[in-house]
């Protein structure tokens, strides 16, 4: 009668207490998306389990599918994957990823590509955390966040075209000025003071799309990418600001 439960890779995005001894855990599950799964609390006797039920750790879970909430049957650290312990700024970035993801992606909706996208970002945060890469300038971390934001928007169908003018459909020219249109691309602009020069837009999309190019963008273009993506995110996030931005002290 009992079907063998499938083992799946997962990350915890968020945990909240439910009733006396239970937790509702928001998981990101490979091949699925965001799933709310109910679990019993580890309790004092089971500190190992409590320590597992933390965000960012690469887990293997088995769960039983229910009509409303699913229930967690087992959880262990993914033996195939290096453990993730985010520190300082990388940890704040991790919180930022989780908040953006939870704000933009619906719970219990199918997002096949979400897991690898998140896995990529988190393992690069870990990489930065371990080697203490550019803790001063923060460029490496910024680059990871921009790639994640862009890829998440594309996955949700909110892609941004960097290579042609949305109105004329002509290629973006290095010496012409452009402005962002409706979070989906750029159009020629007559007011250079408030616009972006075409040469600045070039190379941003290939950087955002290519895994290996994480350190290849100039500080200036990275900053520009941040402004563009922030404007695009804002369209989909609404007026409620992202709380995790407050973690980054000036």
């Amino acid at each position: 009668m009992l079907a063998e439960l499938e083992s799946k890779q997962a990350f915890i995005l968020h945990t909240r207490a439910f009733k006396e001894n239970q937790l509702i855990i928001e998981f990101l599950v490979e091949g699925e998306g965001r799933l709310s799964i109910i679990a019993s609390k580890g309790g004092k006797k089971n500190s190992a389990r409590t320590a597992l039920l933390q965000p960012f750790r690469p887990l293997i879970i088995k769960y039983k599918v229910g009509r409303g909430l699913h229930s967690l049957k087992s959880v262990e650290l993914n033996p195939e994957s290096a453990d993730i312990r985010l520190k300082s700024k990388s940890l704040f970035c991790g919180f930022y990823l989780n908040e953006v993801l939870c704000r933009l992606c619906k719970s219990d909706a199918q997002y096949d590509e979400l897991f690898p996208l998140y896995d990529y970002a988190i393992s690069h945060l870990q990489h930065s955390s371990e080697r203490e890469i550019d803790t001063q300038s923060g460029m490496y971390l910024e680059a990871i966040l921009r790639q994640f934001e862009y890829r998440l928007l594309v996955m949700l169908g909110y892609g941004i075209s960097f290579d042609y003018d949305l109105h004329s459909e002509a290629d973006i020219k290095a010496d012409k000025y452009y402005e962002l249109l409706a979070g989906s691309g750029f159009v020629f602009s007559n007011t250079p003071q408030r616009a972006i020069i075409g040469s600045d837009l070039m190379g941003i999309d290939s950087f955002l799309n290519t895994d290996l190019e994480i350190e290849k963008l100039s500080a200036h273009k990275l900053k520009l990418a941040k402004l563009i993506l922030r404007a695009c995110l804002h369209r989909h996030l609404g007026d409620k600001p992202l709380k995790s931005r407050e973690l980054f002290r000036k």
């Binding site: 995005l13 500190s47 989780n98 908040e99 407050e246």
Partner: protein
């Protein structure tokens, strides 16, 4: 049909942690049968406590005064140590150990942006001001070893760094009576990091 007084009492008692309908019913009958006077006194003090207990303006611990007993005690400011805890019950636990003679700061939570808890919600701007004023020479972090506790620790460490205040954290280790093999790897990591000369 409107709710009887008894039903209402049983329902309200369930706001207490760990109290379900069964326990609430037992409590209500217990008060009615043998502890009517105590029940009345409870209701009076409960009412007063809810109206008058606020937070200490210095350390944010619960008190009905402007300053709590610990903050009023000048002796506790002498060595300039400030122990930061997540909750009033954590403060009570540290206080009970009688190992600490400095002052406290109670966060009433941990950084958790997804839950809408940022630096201002847990008093970190107030803490920063306090550290700026220069009466604190060492901050001791006594936060729980969760990811949120870790983030909070980093945020506070950042503040301390910019004000040149030394910062330490309590060692999270093997509980007394705990067995090494039952303890997870991150606890062992913390315990090793916090090791001391034997």
């Amino acid at each position: 049909m409107s709710q009887s007084l008894l039903e209402n009492l049983i329902e309200q008692l369930q706001c207490l942690p760990g109290v379900g309908p069964k326990t609430a019913q037992r409590m209500a009958f217990h008060l009615l049968q043998r502890k009517r006077q105590a029940g009345k006194e409870l209701s009076v003090v409960l009412n007063e406590a809810m109206d008058n207990i606020g937070q200490c303006s210095e350390c944010r611990n619960y008190t009905e005064l402007e300053l709590c007993g610990i903050c009023q005690n000048a002796k506790r400011a002498i060595d300039g140590t400030l122990c930061i805890v997540e909750s009033a019950s954590d403060l009570a636990a540290v206080e009970q150990s009688a190992q600490f003679s400095g002052r406290y700061f109670v966060l009433h939570g941990c950084l958790s942006p997804i839950d809408g808890v940022g630096p201002s919600e847990i008093g970190l701007f107030q803490l920063e001001q306090m550290l700026e004023n220069g009466h604190v020479s060492e901050v001791i972090l006594a936060l729980n070893p969760s990811v949120e506790g870790e983030a909070t620790s980093h945020y506070i460490a950042d503040i301390c760094k910019s004000h040149n205040i030394s910062i330490t954290r309590i060692a999270h280790g093997i509980p007394v009576g705990g067995e090494l093999e039952m303890v997870d790897s991150s606890t062992i990591t913390h315990a090793l990091m916090g090791r001391k000369q034997f």
